[in-house]
């Protein structure tokens, strides 16, 4: 294979993680992750508490608390190692937070306007004209059944668990990322809220983007049906399969995986 061909193949992969090791304060969390995600695919990463799921999400997004000791992460063939979190965002990575933070006094609309214009600036584009921004907001909030009044509230301040998660997905819709990582988006949601959030995500799926769903429970995957399921245990992917793997896990529990790994 020539270098050029090799490059072409790599470029068609949305996310390529190779032998990733990461630590926080010398505590090893990720111990050799390999993962390849193509455009149009939805991958689920499941695993028991403490297996490293959220760490993986944070490391991909570039959170500086974690130190990458070994291995690489590439988005569309470009290595992310030297990129700051905001640069990774500009390149199309979006993280839906497990615990979205509050920013008092900053409205959802103002926050989104700033985020979108900062990304445009990074691409050498002018600020989005106000009427275009309004149109986009209207379109996306309708799609996610979001009350317009919600958008003039301070970001996440006093939001219910469901509102916070729906707001994350609204932001995802606004930012139109290439790669979206949903970290425990189902946690704290009742079944109705879960359905709305999942429907939103499904509407945003297309052949050009990719979604990584991180979850503890199989429940969310009934609504967001993955193409692949990976099981994370003690910082490594120990088992991969199709969507039926999630059901098997639900039935047998994580102990089954732990035992299998031990053998």
């Amino acid at each position: 294979m020539t270098d050029q061909e090799d490059k072409d193949i790599r470029n068609t992969t949305m996310l390529k993680i190779k032998d990733l090791h990461a630590s926080i304060e010398d505590k090893k969390i990720l111990k050799g992750i390999n993962l390849s995600v193509n455009p149009g695919e939805v991958h689920a990463i499941m695993g028991p508490n403490g297996s490293g799921k959220s760490t993986l999400a944070s490391v991909i997004a570039g959170k500086e608390d974690f130190e990458v000791k070994k291995g690489s992460i590439a988005l569309e063939g470009e290595d992310l190692e030297d990129l700051a979190p905001e640069e990774r965002a500009h390149n199309g990575i979006f993280l839906s937070f497990q615990y979205p933070v509050e920013i008092p006094g900053v409205t959802v609309t103002n926050f989104m306007k700033t985020a979108i214009n900062e990304s445009r600036k990074a691409q050498g584009l002018e600020d989005m004209p106000a009427n275009e921004m309004l149109k986009l907001i209207r379109e996306k909030s309708e799609m996610l059944e979001i009350d317009r009044k919600f958008l003039s509230r301070s970001l996440n301040e006093g939001f219910s668990g469901g509102e916070k998660k729906r707001n994350e997905i609204f932001q995802m819709a606004m930012m139109e990322p290439k790669l979206a990582i949903l970290d425990e988006t189902d946690s704290g949601l009742d079944i109705d809220a879960l359905r709305i959030v999942a429907n939103g995500v499904n509407k945003l799926r297309n052949k050009d983007n990719a979604i990584v769903v991180i979850t503890h429970y199989q429940r969310l995957l009934e609504y967001i049906v993955p193409d692949y399921v990976h099981v994370l245990h003690d910082g490594k992917i120990v088992k991969s399969g199709g969507k039926e793997l999630a059901l098997e896990l639900e039935e047998k529990g994580y102990d089954w995986i732990k035992q299998e790994v031990a053998v």
Partner: protein, 481 residues
Amino acid sequence: MAYTEEELKKELETKEYEYGFYTDIESDTFPKGLNADIVRAISKKKNEPEWMTEWRLEAFRVWEAMEEPEWANVHYEKPDFQAISYYSAPKQADPNKTLDDVDPELLEMYRKLGISIDEQKRLQNVAVDIVVDSVSVATTFQKTLEEKGILFMPISEAIQKHPDLVKKYIGSVVPRTDNFYAALNSAVFTDGSFCYIPKGVKCPMELSTYFRINEGGTGQFERTLVIADESSYVSYLEGCTAPSRDENQLHAAVVELIALDDAEIKYSTVQNWFPGDSEGKGGVFNFVTKRGLCEKNSKISWTQVETGSAVTWKYPSCILKGDNSVGEFYSIAVTNNFQQADTGTKMVHLGNNTRSTIISKGISAGKSQNSYRGLVQVSSRAQNARNFSQCDSLLMGNECGAHTFPYIETKNKSAQIEHEATTSKIGEDQIFYCNQRGIDTEKAIALIVNGFSKEVLNKLPMEFAVEAQKLLEISLEGSVG
């Protein structure tokens, strides 16, 4: 004044205090030091009537017997009052000249300050009285105001032209004996603004004063007197800058507001005096006495954005004398590097059904110390007084301090007083959340700080609010590593 992201970015890159230029204009400066002869000489220089000279001399005698106050939560080397020059005027300044006659270097200075007079005249509908060092150089818009009977002029001119008004009100809200710096100001004030709004008149434009200390080794002691006659309204803006210098410069102003029955005064300040460099060298000492008197059904509203000065000592206050009068204080105080601010307000409830609101937002970064000090006082005769106070502090980093000193003295059981206080820190998780949405750290801080300050920023007139937001961003540049 609109500004683009690009301009802001360019400014942030330089990091230096952006108003730190010194304009080489010929000045007429008094020898350093203070005694009765200097006080007389200032008065003579201004062609003041005898009563004014005597008024000043009495203030000087009071001041001589006073001690500099030490109760504020600030630490600094006390100024040597004999090493200050008490009068400095640009030589070519002549209040009778038109703008065309003004020294082109002065005009250039205004341009650097971003307050081109022509621009202001044409676009902003703001009348500007500019005080450079100690003299008002040009007062714009006077004719338009005169038609409404509004008087807006340098106070030195008002002493000549409207002595009755000045005599009646000067020192009536802030007496010469009030405090050390008020006494000093009363003795040596060299200029400032005077404003009178006649009965029933709504001032059709924002009135604005721009102060700037230019000459080295000078103090600026301006005196502002605003009188809103019955049922009148005025919105007054004040902005301040000073060039960067190694030595400390003293600024000791007195502002007196008088709101007669049913009148309303809105007084907004954006203060950006030189805060000293990143090692804490230099900077302006800002020791200011601001107070307003409210008669029946009147309202005084103070809004301040304080980003500058090495040491700030300032408590814009309201004496709610008349029944149903209203006092408001909205403040944003930012301290960075080695700045120290001790600021707040006094709300003195004397009349029945008087109401006051205090919203204070303190932002501390670097190694700075930021204190809120407020007094809510309800006299025994004041029935149904109400106060609401909210003091929020935002900390950035681990080396700064935020302090709150709320004093409540009430002698009437019908009073309702509420006080809320919060302290928060800009969290790494907030910054990372913004980063993840493509917003870099600098911009994220600006966003968080603006959100924190929003209730106060919303109280500022539009053109000032934009300027204030920009100042907040510049002041906090580089404060979170």
